[in-house]
């Protein structure tokens, strides 16, 4: 198995990448709660959001222990530019084909990443990755089902293909250089065609939507007195 290679990256930064991806995508997925095309999808996207935010919580706990603070402070009290999330998860597109395209691309990339992390020599990280992978398997089933469902319809196919083209450079930006070829392989295998060469939209740059999202999602916390309990 390959390792996630991280030349100039600390364990904390690696954990934050994972945690921030899961938190931000969890928030994005939860935006469908109540307004998805039908009730089953309200339930599905809400459950997926809950799982992703649960993963983020566990990872933030590890970071907080390293930094001597608490998980909420790590999750909510950083300025947007300090988040390490991939731009793919930050985009706000309440459009179904783009949602399914992001869902499938992210879950496919995440599977590659979690497989590598499970082979890590960091036992704690490998253990958490293994537990996450059990839950992510159901996200992947859901994403694969929707990919196939859209590809099977005359209206769905071109819309999903167009969404995949648009998001492809973002999807490449989720993974490190050494893991990226595996993502390309899996996506091309499923679609039965070659994906274009594209410059990855990588971590470190942020979509404007991230700042708006954080502003909204930390509003209550910022307005509450320090030490408030919920």
């Amino acid at each position: 198995m390959r390792r996630v290679s991280a030349p100039a990256r600390s364990r904390t930064d690696l954990l934050l990448e994972l945690a921030d991806d899961e938190l931000v995508l969890g928030w994005r997925n939860s935006e469908w709660t109540g307004i998805a095309p039908f009730l089953e999808e309200d339930v599905a996207f809400s459950s997926i959001a809950q799982n992703e935010i649960g993963h983020a919580r566990a990872l933030y706990e590890l970071v907080a222990r390293e930094l001597g603070t608490d998980a909420d402070a790590v999750a909510f009290d950083r300025p947007p530019e300090e988040y390490r999330s991939a731009p793919l998860v930050e985009l706000r597109r309440l459009e179904w084909a783009l949602t399914i395209a992001r869902h499938w691309l992210y879950e496919t990339a995440d599977a590659v990443r979690l497989e590598a992390l499970q082979a890590s020599d960091d036992a704690e990280l490998a253990g958490i990755a293994a537990k996450m992978a059990r839950e992510e398997a159901y996200h992947r089933i859901h994403a694969d089902m929707w990919r196939d469902r859209l590809l099977a319809s005359d209206e769905g196919r071109p819309r999903l293909e167009e969404a995949l083209e648009e998001l492809w450079p973002y999807a490449l930006g989720v993974l490190d250089d050494d893991l990226r070829p595996e993502l390309v392989r899996r996506v091309e295998e499923k679609l039965g065609r070659a994906m274009p060469d594209a410059e990855p939209v990588s971590r470190g740059q942020h979509e404007a939507e991230l700042a708006e999202l954080l502003e909204e999602m930390t509003m209550v916390r910022r307005s509450a007195p320090a030490g408030a309990r919920w």
């Binding site: 339930v43 809400s46 459950s47 809950q50 993963h55 919580r57 537990k131």
Partner: protein
């Protein structure tokens, strides 16, 4: 301490650990109260260390909102025995639906939840969920279909029984 004293301490500790297990077995799962947290298999270990009751607790799903409530109930139950609790949350792959006890599986079935398939059946796939022989907890038929991979909580899927025409909840294999 003499050997006799040591033996006495050990037996008292074993007695306390047994009492703790019995007390924890009285705590219902907050979301599916027909089974206890011990039946659910989330209590991995109970040890007495320096007078403290150390409980290793392995949550089911990482985003389980009942986690804090389960932890608080365990701490209360241990304090009620006059001991000091320390509940450690273990986040690795050691909890599995295979850890649900046989008694727990029966209680689930009786309450209309189909118990999970064993982990050895392999990583779940859509084809397996759609075509696998999942048994209706109401009538026992395997003529059932997948309605939704997700359900009222992350640990359950929704299925429908074509034989008795009842929906039911299927525990996911984790």
């Amino acid at each position: 301490m003499s050997a006799a004293d040591n033996a006495c301490v050990e037996s008292t500790q074993a007695g306390l650990a047994d009492e703790v297990w019995r007390a924890l077995a009285e705590i219902p799962d907050p979301e599916i109260p027909v089974i206890s947290i011990v039946d659910l298999g989330v209590v991995k270990d109970v040890r007495i260390e320096d007078g403290t009751v150390l409980v290793e607790f392995t949550p089911t799903f990482m985003g389980c909102p009942a986690l804090e409530s389960m932890k608080a109930q365990m701490e209360d139950a241990i304090r009620a025995l006059g001991a000091e609790p320390e509940v450690v949350v273990v986040l690795d792959d050691s909890w599995s639906t295979d850890r649900i006890s046989p008694a727990g599986r029966e209680k689930l079935r009786a309450a209309g939840f189909a118990p999970p398939a064993p982990r050895s059946a392999g990583t779940p796939t859509l084809i397996q969920l759609e075509r696998g022989p999942f048994r209706c907890p109401w009538c026992g038929s395997t003529d059932t279909r997948l309605d939704n991979v997700f359900g009222p909580t992350p640990c359950r899927s929704l299925r429908y029984c074509n034989a008795c025409r009842q929906p039911f909840e299927q525990f996911k294999t984790i």
